[in-house]
C-alpha cells in the first residue's frame, strides 16, 4: 500500500514526470548561479569565496518552487479523505510524500551543483563541502517545505505564503550548511544533518495534523 502511494507521489513530483512535474526549479537554480558573476563581477577570488553561499541560497529558493503542487491539489481532490477511509493515516501519507519530494528535487539539485560550481569557478575542496552540506541539508529543507505546504494548502494564496514561511525556518540549516564552507569543520556538517533528521522526524506529524485540521475548515 505504501509502495503504491510512493510510486504515485514520485510520478507526480519527479521532473519530466507525466503528471506535470517540471525542471523549472533546477533551471532557476542554474540561472541564479549564472547571474551571480554578472552581478558582482568576474573576479575569481571573490567568486570562490562567496560562490558557495550563493549556491546554498539558490538551493533554498529552488526547494520552495515545488511546494505549490505538493499538498494542495490532493487535498482539494479529496485524495487524503479516500486514503483515510482505506486506513492509511495522514502521517504515513505525509512521510511517503516527504521521501518522494526529497527524491524529486535533491538528487538533481546535487547534480546541478556541479555545473553551477563550474559557472562560479569554485575550487574542488569547496565543491566537496558544498555537496556534503547540501546532502545533509536538503532533507531538512524538504521537511520544512512539506510541513508548510500542508499548513497553507487550504488557504487562498497559500503558495506565496508557503515560500515566505519556509525561508525563516530554513535559516538554521543555511547557517550551519553554508557556514561549513567558510570554516571547514565537520561538526557544522554533522549539525546540519542533525537538524535535517530532526525536521524529517517531525514534519510528517505536523503535515498530517494540518491535513486533518483542513477537513474541519
Amino acid at each position: 500500500m505504501v509502495v503504491t502511494l510512493l510510486k504515485r507521489d514520485l510520478a507526480t513530483l519527479l521532473p519530466g514526470g507525466r503528471r506535470g512535474g517540471t525542471l523549472l526549479p533546477l533551471l532557476f537554480f542554474l540561472a541564479v548561479a549564472m547571474l551571480y558573476p554578472f552581478a558582482v563581477g568576474p573576479e575569481p577570488a571573490l567568486l570562490a569565496r562567496t560562490g558557495g553561499g550563493v549556491v546554498w541560497v539558490a538551493a533554498l529558493l529552488a526547494a520552495i518552487l515545488p511546494l505549490e503542487r505538493l499538498v494542495a491539489a490532493d487535498l482539494e481532490a479529496g485524495v487524503f479523505d479516500q486514503l483515510h477511509l482505506r486506513g492509511l493515516t495522514e502521517e504515513l501519507a505525509m512521510a511517503g510524500r516527504l521521501l518522494a519530494h526529497w527524491l524529486a528535487f535533491a538528487p538533481l539539485l546535487l547534480l546541478a551543483t556541479l555545473p553551477a560550481a563550474a559557472l562560479l569557478g569554485l575550487p574542488g575542496e569547496t565543491v566537496r563541502i558544498l555537496l556534503l552540506g547540501l546532502l545533509a541539508g536538503t532533507p531538512g529543507l524538504a521537511a520544512i517545505g512539506l510541513a508548510i505546504a500542508a499548513l497553507t494548502a487550504s488557504l487562498r494564496g497559500g503558495a506565496a505564503l508557503a515560500g515566505l514561511m519556509t525561508i525563516p525556518l530554513a535559516v538554521p540549516i543555511l547557517i550551519f550548511g553554508a557556514g561549513a564552507l567558510a570554516r571547514p569543520d565537520p561538526a557544522a556538517l554533522a549539525l546540519t544533518g542533525a537538524i535535517s533528521l530532526g525536521l524529517c522526524a517531525l514534519a510528517p506529524f505536523v503535515a498530517g495534523a494540518a491535513v486533518r485540521a483542513a477537513r474541519e475548515s
Partner: protein, 230 residues
Amino acid sequence: MTTARLAATDLACSRGERLLFRGLSLALGPGEALQVTGANGVGKSSLIRVLAGLLRSVGGSVERAGAIGLLDERHALDRAVPLGAALAFWRALDGADEALDRVGLEGLSDVPVRYLSTGQTKRAALARLLGQNAPIWLLDEPLNGLDSGGVALVERLIAEHLAGGGLAVIASHQRLASGATTLELEDYVPPLPGGEGIEGRGSEAARPRVPPASHTPTQPPPRGGGVRWS
C-alpha cells in the same frame, strides 16, 4: 464480507459556531438504505462526512462495521493523467478489477481526467467506488451532473450493492427510486434562539415523523425501523 453495520446515536454536528443538527440517531444493517433529504446547507454533506469519520461530531457517536466507500463531489482522481492510470492507482490500493465498463466509460481509459465532462467524472468516481468493494456506501449527491442514463445506472448499482449485503446512506435532494427509507434532516435542525423553529416548524419539528410505511417489494422493512427517531 463481514456483516455490514452503520449506527449513529444522538449525533450533533456544528460548522463553526452554528449547530446544524442534533439528536440524530440511525441504524442500518445489510441490504438497508437510507436517503437523507433536506434543503441546501442543512447539513447533508456534513452528516455524510461525520458518518465517514472525516468530520468530528460535537455530540453522539458513530459505530461502523465494515469498510467505508465515500462518493462525494471530490473525485480524488489525478486530473493530469489518463483515466485508466488515475483509476489504476486506486485499484492497486484496493486490489480490485477494472470497472470502467460497469459505469459506461469503456474506451475512455486513455483520455486524461481533465478532459472528462462533469457526468463522466462522476461515473469515473463511481468506478473507483465499485473497485473499493466496501460494504458501507456513503454517497453525497451521487446524481449531480449525471444524465438520465447515469441516474438509472446509480440506482441500479445501489440496488445491486444492497442485494449483495451492503448498506448505503445517500444524501440527495432528488428522490431515488430505490425504495430507501427517508430521513428529513430539517427535522433535526435546532430551533432558533428566539424559540421559533426553522421556517415556522416550531413544535412540529420535535414530533417524530413516521417513516414512509410502503417499501418496494425487494426492500425488506428495516429492522428496528431502520431509523430511530429521538
